[in-house]
Amino acid sequence: MIKWTEAARRALDEYCARSKTVLAGGAADAEEVSEDLRRHVEEEVRAARLSVVTEDDIKRILARVGEPGNLPEPNSAAPARPKTDAIIPDTSDRPGFALFTFAILLPLITFCFELATGASAGALFDPFPTWLHVTAVAMVPVVNFCMWRAGRAGDARRMKWFGWLNSAVLGVCFYYVILYLQFAPYAALGILFFGVGLLPLSPFFALIATPILRAKYIDQIPVKKLPGTFLGAFIAIALLLVVQFPTAATYYGMAKASSEDSETKAHGVRVLQLFGDRELMLRACYGLLQRSLDMDLIRNVSSGNERISAEQARETYYRVTGKAFNSVPPPALFTRTGRWTALDEEFTWDEALGGDAVAQRIKGLSLSSSRMDAIAYPDSAVVYCEWTMEFKNVSSQQREARAQIGLPPGAVVSRVTLWINGEEREAAFGGRSQVKEAYQEVAVVQRRDPILLTTCGPDRVLMQCFPVQPGGGVMKIKVGITAPLIINAADHGQFVWPRFLERNFAIGSNLKHDLWIESNQRLANGKVESVPAASPDRPFALRDSLKESSLAEAINAVTVFRSPEMNDVWTPESGNAGIIHQSLHESATRPIQRLVIVVDGSQGMKSFAREIAGAMSHIPTGAKSSLILAEGGTDTAAIHHKAVASESTDEIQTRLLRANYRGGADNLPALEAAWDAASSVENGAVLWIHGPEPVLLSAESGLQQRLERNVTRTRLIELQTQTGPDRVLEKLDGLSALKRIPRLGAVSNDLARLFDQWSGKIKSFEFKRERIEAPSGVRVGRHIERLWARDEALRLAAENKRDEAVTLAARNQLVTPLTGAVVLERKEQYDRHQLNPADPTTVPSVPEPGILSLLVLGAFACVISRRKRSR
C-alpha cells in the first residue's frame, strides 16, 4: 500500500487543475487529459516502488513529465487529405508486366514443371542434382517477385537484402544459362517454327530480366546503388559449383575407371571412392544416364565426352563400393528431386529378360510369400526341403522374376513345380540347352507361363519365372531340394537353409520366410526349441520365421541328431536292377605341405579381418604358409612374389589386421598366383576366403586351366563370408579341385575347424555313394539315389560321356550343370521340345499336414475297428 503525504497529493491536484486550464478550449478533451496525466504519475510512483510519496517525489516526476502543451492546431486552410500529386514521382518507371512475366512467372512455371515431371532430367540432364540447386532455382521467382513488388511500391525497406539476393539470382541464372547453352539454339528454333521451347529458354530470359528489375527498383528508391552487384552472383555460382562437384567428379571418375589402362582405371576408382555420388553411379548401372539428347555439359566436360555403358558402370560400382549394384534398392528413375513417379516402372526396361543374368532390380516386382517345409532323414543323412514362393507384380507390365538361389552344400534340385490356374504342374527335366530353348520360346516369344531352373555355379541355381502378370498378378512356384547333411560328428549332422544370393525383385522388410523341419530324431538350432510334429513317424520339429537378412546367418543352421552306427544304407536304383549304396566314414587326413591363403581385400571383408586373423593360429604346424591379399591385382609380379614367400602366423595376422579393405577387389590374379605357388609341391592347397564378387573383373580361363590340369593334387578350398553372387566361383563349377567350406558358425570357427581337421585334431567325415550288386546295410528312401546320380552324372561328363550323363540326371529329375528343369503350360509345348514333365507320383514330396492327419486318423480308425471286431 502506497502512502501519499498531503503535500504530495496537493501538488498533483494542482498540476492536473493547471493542465485542465491550459487545455481548455483545445481539440483535446481537457478532463480526459487531466485524468490521463494523474494516472501516469500514479504509474510512475508504482514503478519507482515508493512506499511513501512525498511532495518532492511528485515534483521530480512532474518535472520529467513536463507541462501539458497544446500543440498548434492544423492550418484550417490545409486540405484534410494530403495532395501528393505534385511531389509523387513519375510511376512509368515502375517494374511492369513484362518484368513480371520474364523474371517471375516464366521461371516459376519452369521450376514447377521440372520439379513435377523431371522432363529435363529425362531428356537433357538433371538440373536439380542436389536440394541446394532446387533452393537456388526457387529463389529466382521468389526474390524477383518480392523485389518487383517493393519496386512498385517504392518500398526501400530491406533494400540491402534485395541487393544481395538479386545479385545471387543473377548468378543462378548465369549458371543455368551456361548449362542450357547447347540446347538454346534448338529451343529458339522450336519457338520460331513450332511455338514451343519457352521453358528451356527461361534462364536466358531471367538473366536479362533480373538486372533490369534491379535498375527499376533503384529508380524507385532513394539510393543510387545496391550492394552485392557482382559479389553475390559470384558467391551463388561458386556455391552451385561446389555442390555440383561430386556429380562432376563422379562423371570424371566413371570415365577414368572404365579405361583400358590399369593405372587410369585405378585413378578413376580412387576419385570415385573419395568424391563419387553413389546414387549417380547406381543410375549409371541401370542405364539411366543415357538420355535422348546428349547435352549434359557437366558430364561432357568432366568425362571428356566418354560414354559409359551400364555394364561398365556395374563393374565400376563394384570396384568402388565392393557391393553388387543389384544388392541395393534401385535408384529413382530420372532424378532424386523430381520424377515421373506415376510412370516410374513403365520406363524400366528389363534388358535381361530370358537371359542368364539376374541383372537389375525390377520396379513393382516383389516376393510376397515364402515358406520352406523340410523333412530330415537322419538314417540317410539327407534333408529334403521344399521352398514355396509367390511373386507379386504391381507394375503394369509383365515381369520376369529371377534369382540365384544358394543351395545347402552338396545339394541338388530334385523337384520344380509351378501353379497354373490353381493346379500344380511338374517340371520336365532335360538337357540344359534343351530346357533353355523351350523356356526362351514359351516365355520370351509366346509370353506364356514357364519356369526354368539351371545351375549357375557350385551349389547355386538360377531360377527364372515369366510372366508374373501385371496389376497385382501372382506367380507361385515350388523348388524341391535334396541336401546331404554336413557331418562333422558321428552322432549329428547339420542342414543349412537355401537362400537368395542375388535377385531382381524386392523383399519387403515385413516379409518373413516361414521355416518348418521335422525328423524322427531330435532337432536343434542355436535359438529355437523343438515343437511337437503332427506326424507320429517324425515327432520332432522346428519352426521359425526369419527375415531375409537373417536367413543366411549361420546360427539358423539346423542340427539333426542321428544314430552314429547308421553308416551303411541303400536304396534300389529306379529303372535298373542295381542297388545304390551310401556309406559314411571318417576321411583320412592329408597333411598340407604348402598353404597359400588368399584373402579378398574388398570393403565387405573388413568386419571379418579380426576373426580371420584369429583363426590363423590354428594353421597346422609344418605347413609352409603365406598370405596374398587380393587388392585390385594389377601388379601380378608382386603377387607372385608374395605367394612364394613363406610367412609366420604372426606376420600373416599382422598383415590381415593392417590391410585397407577398400572397394571391390579382383580375386582372380591372386588366386592364379596362389595356385602356382601351392601346386609347386605335392599336397598343396589354396585357401580362398572371400566375400561376394558380383562382377568378373578379369578372364577366368587361366585359373580354370590350372584347376583342370591339376597334376599335383592341389586343392582350392573356398570359404565365402557373406551371402551374395560370386562370378569367379560360378566359373569353377564342376571342377573337382574345388572344395567348399560350409558356413555353420562364425568365420573364425569354420576356419579353425578346417585347420584342426587338417592337423588331425578333430575328425572329418565323408560320404561314399556307389552302385553295387547286393544290398548292404539298412534300406532307406530314394534321396540317396538322387545324390549319387548327381555325382555320377558329373563323373560321366568329366569322362566326355555327356549323353549318358544327361540321360542319368534327367531320369532322376535333377538340375545339374548338364541338365535343367522347365515347366511349360501345355502338352504340345512339351512335345515340340521333346520334353516329358515329371510324373507326379515319382517326384519327392513333403506330406501336407492335412494328409498326415488323415493318415493318423485312418490308422486310429482301423485300430478301433479291429478291436471292436475282436471283441
Binding site: 493542465s19 487545455l23 483545445g26 481539440a27 483535446a28 478533451d29 480526459e32 487529459v33 490521463d36 496525466l37 494516472r39 501516469h40 500514479e42 504509474e43 508504482r46 520529467r64 513529465v65 513536463g66 507541462e67 501539458p68 502543451g69 497544446n70 500543440l71 498548434p72 487529405r81 494530403p82 501528393t84 511531389i87 509523387i88 514521382p89 517504392g154 518500398d155 526501400a156 524507385q220 528508391i221 532513394p222 539510393v223 543510387k224
Partner: protein, 113 residues
C-alpha cells in the same frame, strides 16, 4: 545555423508526432503508460510524456484511435489504446505520403532532378 536547424526540427517533429502515435498502434492495442514511454524513447522525436497525452486525446476525439479502461489489481486502472478503421486508413495514407516525399527529397539531393 543552429537556431534555424532547431526551429526546423521542431516543425518536423510536430508534424511527425501524430504519425508516430498511429504507427506505434499499427500492430497491437497498447497500454497508455507503455505507449507513452515508447514514444518518449524514440530517438530524435524529443517529446515529453505531458505532450503526448493531449495528442492521444485529440486523436481519440478525431475518431482515429479508441481507448478503453481496464481495472488493474496492482495499481490504477489501465487505459488501452488501439487504432480505429479510420485511423488505420489515415496512417497508411500518411505513411505513403511520407515515403514519396522522402524519395522525392532524396532524389533532389542525389540526382538533382
Amino acid at each position: 545555423m543552429d537556431n534555424f536547424f532547431d526551429n526546423w526540427t521542431v516543425q518536423v517533429r510536430k508534424g511527425l508526432l501524430e504519425l508516430c502515435i498511429l504507427n506505434a498502434l499499427a500492430n497491437e492495442e497498447r497500454y497508455g503508460y507503455d505507449l507513452v514511454k515508447t514514444l518518449v524513447e524514440v530517438h530524435g522525436l524529443g517529446v515529453s510524456e505531458g505532450t503526448i497525452y493531449p495528442l492521444l486525446s485529440r486523436l481519440r476525439v478525431a475518431g482515429l484511435i479508441a481507448s478503453r479502461l481496464e481495472e488493474s489489481s496492482s495499481g490504477p486502472a489501465r487505459k488501452y489504446y488501439s487504432l480505429t478503421k479510420e485511423g488505420r486508413k489515415t496512417m497508411e495514407t500518411m505513411n505513403d505520403y511520407l515515403i514519396e516525399l522522402n524519395r522525392s527529397v532524396t532524389r533532389l539531393r542525389t540526382k538533382g532532378a
